[in-house]
Symmetry: C2
Subunit: 216 residues, 2 copies
DNA sequence: ACAAAAGTGTTCGACTTACACCCATGG
DNA sequence: CCATGGGTGTAAGTCGAACACTTTTGT
């Protein structure tokens, strides 16, 4: 093993979106175009450039590898498992991001977090070990939650996101009260019908909450 | 700014000890021997070697810069503030460590967390922003707590550590119940007298708790 | 009418905080 | 006897989880 006083740092991004049709929070993966693990599915990852900020690198990774922009992003954890990369990479910073609505590259695929296929490197390990953090962020981390929900969303989406991230059906009563306690989040006047069932309220983020928390 | 696909990663260690005489948890700093910031006080920090684990690097930093060993250590956060280092370092991983009883280098000094002097780099910022994490670890993170207390400790030490980390006097009744709920921690038979006042119990870590959590 | 979806009310236990009060020792 | 430090008991407040029940829609 080499012992140079410098390390390659990779930034790997768990890029999410809410799929309103399937009612699922989905993770973006793409087939690697370069060695190692060429052709295998992987999280968008990139090598941090000298002097580059983590947020910038994450955005670069999502843009280059997936072809989409980012509505919000933030740090998750650091992995320093040895031999996670055959080339000798050592440190990897896991970040979350929420994709904007842009059309991704054709080879990008999206999977529910419960159904992620085999990935390159230790990316499966990264997904499983950060899942709890993502779940904890929902309705607590405003930047994360706002990015995932968009400026307004029906109750059905709130239920689906919670189920999709936590893995089990939330109690609707408790979820409703939770939403009421989220700062900057208000019940709208409109009602949203969803096939059958009682129409639900449309939740709306306050303007100032929308303005804050820029992408960087 | 250079844009090479490789970054220097520094590991900076908040090295603590419990000073039984002054009843304070203290932080180790030392005067830097090299540029930049030569002569200024700083946390022990080191550049991560390629393929090196964070824990190993932290241990190396503490040993080389302070001359002491480590009874326990763990991660805190990652800082990626740009220009935190004039040389162009970018990423810094903050770790906690508890020093063993070895005699440190002569120029090492220890300060209570409330009274840390001006430090090089953004190390003051690092100390203030990780303080809450350290406080949260006490009595919760077993590796941290055991390392700081040693195999057994009197009630007075528990009170002092809590006050020293949290910044305010704990309620002794609540602290006592908290100690009782810490797994692996038991009240010993011995009593410890402390000048004046009623003698306090000696708390003892269970053997298996002592065995687990190796330094790495 | 019935199933599906949304919303309200209530309770329980875990945990934190605060505070009142008793106990044991040294000076 | 009293200041100092140690220890027990109790009550309020917060929070999450669980559950019963009502309301409003489509089929």
């Amino acid at each position: 093993m080499e012992r140079r006083p410098s390390s390659n740092v990779s930034v790997d991004v768990l890029t999410l979106r809410y799929n309103a049709t399937d009612r699922e929070v989905e993770l973006a993966v793409y087939p690697r175009a370069t060695e190692p693990y060429i052709g295998q599915l992987a999280l968008p990852g990139i090598t941090l450039l000298e002097g580059e900020r983590l947020a910038d690198a994450a955005q670069r990774a999502v843009h280059e590898k997936l072809g989409v922009g980012v509505r919000g992003l933030g740090p998750l954890t650091v992995f320093d498992e040895p031999s996670r990369d055959p080339r000798g990479f050592t440190l990897s910073v896991a970040m979350w991001a929420v994709a904007d609505g842009a059309e991704p590259h054709a080879d990008v695929s999206w999977y529910p977090l419960d159904d992620v296929p085999a990935l390159a490197f230790d990316h499966n390990q990264m997904v499983t070990s950060t899942r709890q953090m993502l779940t904890d962020k929902l309705w607590r981390d405003l930047a994360f939650t706002r990015a995932l929900t968009g400026p307004e969303f029906p109750v059905s989406a709130a239920v689906a996101m919670t189920r999709s991230l936590s893995g089990s059906d939330p109690d609707r009563g408790n979820l409703n009260r939770r939403l009421q306690s989220v700062p900057g989040l208000n019940v709208g006047h409109k009602r949203v019908v969803l096939g059958r069932g009682r129409p639900g309220a449309l939740w709306v983020w306050a303007e100032d909450a929308v303005a804050q928390e820029p992408v960087a």
